[in-house]
Amino acid sequence: MTDSTATKLKQQLNELAKKGTKHLSQLRHRHALEQGWQAAIKSVWFYPAILLIAALVDVAELAKFEQQPFYYFGLVLIPLLVFVVRYFQAASQYEIDRRLALALYDHHLASKDRLQTADEFLNISNPSSFELAAIEDSKTFIEKALNAELPKKELSAPVLTVAKWRSLATAASLTVLAILLPFINLGFNTDIAEKQVDSTQLLSAISTSQDANQVESELSVNRKASGIKMRSSQSDSASEAGEEESQMKAKPSQPKAASDASSQNSSAQQNQSNTAGSGASSQSSSSKQQQQKKEKPATKKKTNSQTKQQDQKKQKNSSAAGVANGKGSTSGQQPANSDKAAAENKARQEDESDSTDEAEEEEDEEQKANSSSGPKKNKRKAPVDRKLGVTGQSEQENDLANGRGGPGGLKKTRGVAAMLLGVPMPDRLQGSPNPGRTKSIQEQSQPEQQQVAQTNSEDHGARNGAVGEVPEKPLLPWIKQVITKYFVAQRSDETTKQ
């Protein structure tokens, strides 16, 4: 290859590199634009969302927003910033150089790296024959590349896809909502305020009426029911039964109490355990509870506290009912009567709390006596089997228990069989077991000179005595000859080497 040919080839490759670089720059610009545009579209709804949140959080401040329209510049500014950042980020990902430009042509012409190879080999000062041949081989492809037009890459997606339109529409709607929300919100809040005022007034008025009493009594029943549900989950099954019994008694009594209170006081006194009615009802109810507790000595302190709460609630109801009864009062005398009733209720509550404390103490003593006398019957459970679950939780489990023990199905599933690996294992090991990797470390150490104590040679004298029988190997003569020849030959090799 002559120098002129090499120079010509270099010029041609330079031209190709320029064209390729230009093309790649365009591609990079388009790619960056695309990326930036996508990121900007995605970020469009961000600022409107902030505006909307601000509007929701503080309506009064939004009025200022309204007065300061430059706050809405963010609608344009943030997407613009995002676009610029993403553009430069995407553009900086690609570094364009000469090799990349030539590789573009190689790829386009399927020339198997011939242009890159030629460019590389042309810069070698003393190319080998194969390198020269490779340069020669690339000539035709360089010619082709000079005449070839690189395909112009179109934008991979339309400017505005449905998804992009959606985000734009979302942003627009959010902005509109953020702008309009102060007006909508203010009206809504005034309505609420007005409604709140009305409702408080109404409540105070209703609290004095009989209808309100009925409502209150119903509410208290509901509260009780919910309270009992909560307690039932905590208490034992035996105490639950007791509770349910008392509830069964209490439930139908409350609507009765309301109706009785309206009719006559005497009936309320008769239904002492039903709580609502006269002031003496609380005392009578506590005495009846004590009787119930005597009947069921297994009940615990929990139930006592629960009954306490119930009584308190009942007192509340009774106060309401007392107001309703009015003890002969009319609705026109309500404020004075209500004060009186409140004072009476306070006194009753104090008395009742004292009585309930006494009842609790008595009950504890009884419980202690029972526990010392014999085992609690309600604590008796089915014989324990070896299941891993808690025994005696249900009747079904007790039925299954045979008292003989032994692992159940549940335990079997948790046994050794369940611990086996779930991965397929080859039934044979391939080859011999590997003892593992060994690592040998060689440390270089300099030889150290050591002092050796001098020892004087001594004459040990000649050793006397018979050596004994030295057995000779019964070698055949020809073997002796061969061995002699072997060693003689070997020594001769050594001497020649030396």
Binding site: R99, K112, D113, Q116, S128, S129, F130, R428, W478
Partner: protein, 336 residues
């Protein structure tokens, strides 16, 4: 300069012609399996050794024996068995009778000292015996006692192993595997090939393999292969591929990190380059391209990947990992 170019063209043409001749001759005996024949020839011309893996009856042994006849090389076959000792392969000193009636110790060369060695069922021998091949495969010499014997070029070990019958076998250690340039997996023939096999082997027709080249020509061809230059892009790509097989390296895909215990060694890149040079010459080019490297990556790298337990449990093969590496590693100077 022009003269140089003409010479190179001639050399490349001669290389291609000889290659095609050998392939055609071997194909007379070996039906189908073009990829395997090309692989074996590529390894022979690149100066490497080949490990042929396949179930019995696919013609692995016949391929190697046919090749030895076609290239007219000194051929020896070693049937590996569990009781075989290194001395059985390398040779030993034996007592012989002289003409004069005396006796002397002489060195009896083992079958390993040849040009083309067929190590049949290599995994049946113990690691001790397998290790006897290490020196000869890497350094092309055998040391027995105080005697070191240099092998004549071209020297090539072609080993076969059966992947199915693993009982009573000893898998080749990594050091041994790494010394093979290619691991070629021999598959079943196609339907059309079966017809030809029946006609050729069950009739009275006798197929004779004629020698089409010799050791000297093969040596020249090896020199030509080593003369092929490798541009920077192809070098970078080969390096990236080898690094891609090494777990937790820069170019390793997730699958390699998860399933590979060991990746390819630097021997792998030597093998990649030599085999890619042969590919370039066969494709009529004077320099290696990235496509050449890609084409021979699987047979060069598959036996250099050591898979971990997770890979074995999940049925992940070395080939699938190499495919992942090829898909993951970018070709240098490409516009994505």
């Amino acid at each position: 300069m022009e003269q140089h170019s003409i010479n190179v063209n001639e050399q490349a043409e001669k290389f291609k012609h000889t290659f095609t001749q050998i392939k055609t001759e071997v194909s007379n005996m070996m039906v189908g399996q073009d990829d395997i024949i090309e692989g074996v020839l590529t390894a022979l011309l690149a100066g490497g050794h080949v490990l042929l893996e396949g179930v019995p009856g696919l013609g692995k042994t016949m391929l190697v024996s046919s090749l030895s006849k076609a290239v007219n090389l000194q051929f020896s076959r070693i049937q590996f068995t569990p009781d075989m000792m290194p001395a059985d392969i390398q040779g030993t000193t034996v007592l012989t009778e002289t003409e004069s009636g005396g006796h002397e110790l002489t060195f009896q060369e083992g079958p390993i000292i040849s040009n083309l060695v067929l190590a049949d069922e290599i995994n049946r021998a113990t690691p001790k015996t397998q290790s006897a091949l290490l020196e000869v495969m890497q350094e092309k010499q055998v040391t027995v006692g105080r005697r070191t014997i240099k092998m004549d070029e071209p020297y090539c070990v072609m080993a076969t192993q059966n992947p199915v019958e693993q009982e009573g076998t000893y898998p080749l250690p990594e050091a041994q595997l790494d010394r093979f340039l290619f691991k070629l997996v021999v598959g079943y023939p196609t339907e059309q090939d079966y017809h030809t096999i029946i006609d050729r082997t069950t009739s009275g027709e006798k197929v004779e393999i004629a020698p089409v080249t010799d050791a000297e020509t093969l040596r020249e061809m090896r020199d030509i292969v080593r003369s092929v230059p490798v541009p920077e892009a192809a070098k970078s790509y080969a390096i990236r591929l080898v690094m891609g097989t090494q777990p937790h390296s820069e170019y390793a895909p997730e699958s390699v990190n998860a399933y590979a215990a060991l990746g390819s060694s630097p021997r792998g890149i030597q093998g990649l380059m030599l085999a890619a040079k042969v590919q370039a010459l066969l494709n009529g080019r004077f320099a290696v391209s990235c496509d050449d490297v890609k084409a021979i990556a699987t047979p060069v790298l598959r036996h250099r990947l050591v898979l971990n337990f997770h890979a074995q449990a999940n049925g992940v093969s070395a080939d699938s990992l190499i495919t992942d590496v090829l898909n993951h590693v970018p070709v240098p100077n490409t516009v994505s």
